[in-house]
């Protein structure tokens, strides 16, 4: 496409700064990288359950809408009744701050490290 030079430059500046912003966000929010030890389940923003990652188990969340598995210190959703199943495809989480989100069922599973729990509750 033959764009006027000025517009092409402005476009490039905008796109580059957006990508830089993404990079900054990535480093800012990628979490502490340490292993968490508790999985907190929230529905509609309210905590409904809290499971230790040390205890293996299979839990039916939210009246069976999502099935949570905890094994080998990881948590993941095995199945869900939502149409897109994005929550299942988000895979296993184990690090402090990592999170699985199921938007259709308004459900989140977040991993926390024990020592950050105090901050979490307050």
């Amino acid at each position: 496409m033959s764009l006027p030079g000025k517009k092409r430059l402005a476009d490039l500046v905008l796109i580059t700064s957006l990508l830089l912003l993404a990079l900054v966000c990535y480093f800012l929010f990628s979490g502490s990288g340490s292993h968490g030890n508790v999985a907190v389940v929230c529905v509609n923003g309210e905590e409904v359950a809290r499971y230790s990652l040390a205890v293996e188990g299979r839990y039916e969340l939210n009246g069976g809408s999502n099935i949570l598995i905890i094994q080998d210190g990881c948590a993941w959703l095995e199945d869900a009744d939502c149409p897109d199943k994005l929550c299942v495809r988000q895979g296993k989480i184990e690090l402090d701050g990592q999170c699985i989100t199921c938007l259709p069922n308004k459900l989140t599973v977040t991993i926390y490290a024990d020592n950050s729990e105090v901050e979490l509750i307050s």
């Binding site: 402005a10 957006l18 989100t101």
Partner: protein, 163 residues
Amino acid sequence: MKTKKIAVMALAAALAMILSFVESQIPAFVAVPGVKVGLANIAVVFVLYKLGWKEAVVISIIRVFVVSVLFGTAVSLFYSVAGAVLSLTGMVLLKITRLFSTVAVSVTGGVLHNVGQIAMACILLETNVIKYYLPFLIVSGVIAGVVIGIIAAIMVKRVDVEC
């Protein structure tokens, strides 16, 4: 003159709906909620450049509501509205500056649409998970936005209507 404008807008609205349907049939290729190709944005950007921002707002409103009724759920309507409002505001403001091409306008629209949807989700779910998804939402919005912007630019150039 006016009839022609109505016809073009109806055409664009139909195009937006078809593209939304096509997109709803594409399986999600990244497991991040909120990531969308935004095919329907082709129609919105086209109208924004061909007719003006008011008309683009009308097309967006029609698209969001009709598509939610046809292919969505009550919850997805909230996400769509948030995405569309943020995306449209950004695109209109950027277009008014006259500094940028359709590609940059569409990129901004794409990124803001993704971010708006997930921001609404965070409000509804009362969580701050958005920050973990932000990098993916921005990058996917930029990639999709570039493609959509180029297609929309071609359409603006080739579709010869004077309204």
